[in-house]
């Protein structure tokens, strides 16, 4: 009798262990952030305070831009509706704290991927949605046509708390030029101060310069110098410690890029279900069980492409057609001479 009880308990214990193990893996699939997002019914997305082409709100409060589209893609994948995003405009200074303190779940705010940010402060970068580099804007009539024309005493306006501040120092130090950094918390004040003549040059990511130039009183009086002084891979960021959510954001972005590579657009996505190419069929959810691997249904990627479009469509709509940077430069697919290259979705 005693023996039987003992044996029984050991069997029960074994099952218990097995059971907890399986529920554990199920729970892992259901990430906390994913669960919260589905419960709330919207994706909490941190964006800039207004950078045309990347994240910018119109008069009616509709956000557009390539950074915005990353959040919309995640909303389409997770909630089935790309409009279910709550945008939080953040300054450069606030952005990481907002993410680590659980105010937002994705930070998609032209943020440069660096080692210390990735490793040291509880963040994880999931990919690159724009390859950028720091440049300088000057007045055309200044006669400065290259960064080599800067002289000691030059004053440079820029944003506070950015990699720009560090690159600027590296750059001017390497040239042995003493300079005056004037750093503002908000981009609008940088533009206003540069416009008024407080600074000789305005330095930030080249895409940012192109976008902010439109806001100057006489955009045609200014130009961006040809040199690029740094690598600025910009991409979405998530909190460290939720690897499922991290995967969802990463593959939402990758899906957009891969869709462009295979020629799948928002217009033809549905018809691609019957494509001969298995890679295309996987992309629109007609083959494989890729959604389940992320804890989502199998149409997640199809919804991204249909509702947000592929990367090329997003770029054209937000950056090229608005006249910010018509030339895609490095942000072209690897098959077309650019460096956009994502791991295969399979």
């Amino acid at each position: 009798m005693f023996k039987l009880v003992k044996r029984l308990t050991s069997v029960v214990a074994m099952f218990a262990v097995l059971f907890t193990f399986t529920t554990e893996t199920m729970a892992a699939k259901k990430s906390k952030t994913l669960k919260n997002t589905q419960k709330k019914g919207f994706v909490r997305c941190g964006v800039s305070q207004g950078l045309p082409g990347f994240s910018n709100a119109d008069a009616a409060g509709n956000w557009t831009g390539v950074d915005v589209d990353v959040c919309r893609a995640v909303a389409a994948a997770v909630l089935g509706d790309s409009s279910k995003v709550k945008f939080t405009p953040l300054s450069a200074k606030e952005r990481f704290t907002a993410l680590t303190s659980n105010e937002i779940d994705i930070l998609s705010r032209n943020t440069t991927w660096t080692l210390s940010r990735d490793a040291d402060i509880g963040l994880t970068f999931v990919g690159v949605n724009f390859y950028d580099g720091q440049g300088f804007m000057v007045r055309k009539n200044s006669g400065i046509s290259s960064v080599n024309d800067f002289k000691a005493g030059v004053s440079a306006c820029t944003n506070l708390g950015t990699t720009t501040e560090l690159n600027m120092r590296d750059f001017f130090n390497s040239k042995g030029i003493k300079y005056e950094p004037v750093t503002f918390e908000k981009a609008d004040e940088v533009v206003a101060a540069y416009d008024a003549g407080r600074c000789d040059t305005y330095t930030t990511d080249k895409s940012g310069l192109a976008a902010q130039r439109i806001k100057l009183s006489n955009p045609d009086d200014h130009m961006v110098l040809p040199e690029t002084i740094s690598k600025e891979p910009l991409g979405p960021v998530v909190r460290q410690g939720d690897s499922v959510w991290e995967d969802i954001v990463r593959w939402s972005l990758n899906t957009m890029i891969e869709a462009e590579e295979y020629g799948v657009t928002s217009a033809n996505a549905d018809s691609m279900k019957t494509s001969d190419n298995p890679a295309v069929k996987r992309l629109v959810g007609a083959e494989g069980e890729l959604g389940a691997a992320l804890g989502l249904d199998n149409e997640w990627s199809l919804r991204i492409i249909k509702q947000v479009g592929n990367y090329g469509e997003s770029y054209k709509r937000n950056i090229a057609d608005t006249g910010i940077l018509p030339d895609r430069g490095p942000n072209q697919l690897w098959t077309k001479g650019g460096i956009l290259y994502v791991p295969p979705a399979r």
Binding site: G122, K151, L166, F184, E185
Partner: protein, 381 residues
């Protein structure tokens, strides 16, 4: 017996400890979950960012701690300038409010009502961008007295180049100490013999003679460096040499003093009005001149009413100086709680240091003002 008294205090203590413990535990768990480490070791690391305006030698090769000092000194600088000007404007406007001249009284009243009812941040933006719009470019600046240049890139003023500056400073300190002794001696003499000593004249003489001696005997030597215009590119200029006060400092100090002065003016008005009319009449009736009435009877009593609320205004000004970040003046919040926080990501550490710093600054001002208040309070013998 005393238990009833102690119990509520004990309970409060337990609640405080529990609340504090909960928050620190919560922060600890959350930071651990996200792989964030905690520590102040970063303060000795190289900061690798530059600051446009600093009172001490600093560049990106110095440590984060040095960057903290740069920000702190800039905060103190703008607060001190602000407090001095706010006090001067405040006293003048406060007395003007009591003037029997209708025009002066109304002007002062309109100034007070206008400036204290507009949010400070707006005023800072106004003065900054107004300054940027109104000030000339360096090449177009008209020199004031031939050596001062007020431009959009800053206020360029001549600078002293010193030799043996330390000896000069010692001589000034010695003069100040000597003045204290002279004053003490004069007071005693008046109490004992009833004769007055011309303290002011002697003080001014000491302040001139001792530093002058340091020039003649101590090897102190000062020359003046005047800012000279320099071309940076075809259309852009700046000044070299001399001292440069950035436009951010000027507009911030201006906004802070004009705003705080309105409150100080009201304190002064309340203080003077708080001294009863009978006091003035009594003083006049024993033959004191109007100046003596103000100096010996009204002001000592008015100050007692003025000092405590003015202390609050000094504290407010110091704390309000943190709005500097909006217009790129490199104060503690911009340099340390801004750039340094962003570059290190150490939010809890940096914010805690910044909070402690402001607390220390405020308490220091409070202690000084309380000391002064006690000094002028009625001494009952």
């Amino acid at each position: 017996m005393n238990f009833k008294k102690i119990l509520p205090q004990l309970l409060t203590l337990v609640v405080v400890i529990l609340v504090f413990g909960f928050f620190s535990y919560n922060a600890q768990v959350n930071m651990e979950n996200r792989g964030i480490t905690f520590g102040y070791g970063f303060l000795s690391q190289e900061s690798s960012f530059d600051v446009q305006f600093s009172l001490i030698e600093y560049d990106g090769s110095h440590s984060y701690f040095r960057a903290y000092l740069v920000g702190l000194l800039n905060t103190i600088l703008v607060s001190v300038i602000g407090i001095i000007f706010a006090t001067i404007i405040g006293v003048v406007v406060g007395i003007a409010r009591l003037s029997k001249n209708y025009l002066i009284e109304r002007t002062a009243a309109i100034y007070v009502e206008f400036f204290r009812n507009i949010p400070l941040l707006l005023q800072i933006f106004f003065w900054y961008f107004a300054a940027l719009r109104a000030l000339p470019l360096p090449e177009k600046a008209e020199p004031m007295f031939g050596v001062f240049f007020l431009t959009i890139k800053g206020f360029f003023i001549p600078a002293f180049i010193w030799n043996n500056l330390d000896i000069f400073i010692y001589s000034v300190i010695a003069a100040i100490i000597a003045i204290f002794f002279v004053r003490a001696y004069a007071k005693k003499k008046q109490e004992n013999q009833g004769t007055q000593t011309p303290v002011l004249l002697i003080s001014i003489g000491l302040l001139i003679i001792l530093p002058l001696l340091s020039f003649l005997l101590g090897g102190v030597d000062a020359s003046i460096e005047i800012p000279v215009i320099e071309q940076l590119s075809k259309t852009s200029f700046t000044y070299k040499g001399g001292l440069k006060l950035p436009p951010e400092l000027i507009s911030l100090a201006l906004a802070l003093s004009l705003y705080t002065a309105t409150f100080i003016a009201e304190c002064v008005r309340a203080g003077v009005q708080g001294v009863s009319k009978g006091q003035k009449e009594a003083a006049a009736s024993i033959g004191l001149t109007p100046n003596q009435v103000l100096k010996l009877v009204v002001m000592p009593q008015a100050l007692r009413i003025i000092i405590p609320p003015t202390t609050n205004q000094y504290l407010n000004l110091t704390k309000n100086s943190s709005l500097a970040a909006a217009i790129a003046y490199p104060d503690l919040v911009l340099v340390f709680a801004g750039t340094a926080l962003m570059q290190t990501g150490r939010a809890i550490e940096i914010v805690s240091i910044t909070m402690l710093t402001y607390l220390t600054l405020s308490i220091t001002i409070s202690i000084f003002m309380n000391w002064y208040n006690k000094k002028i309070a009625i001494k009952e013998k």
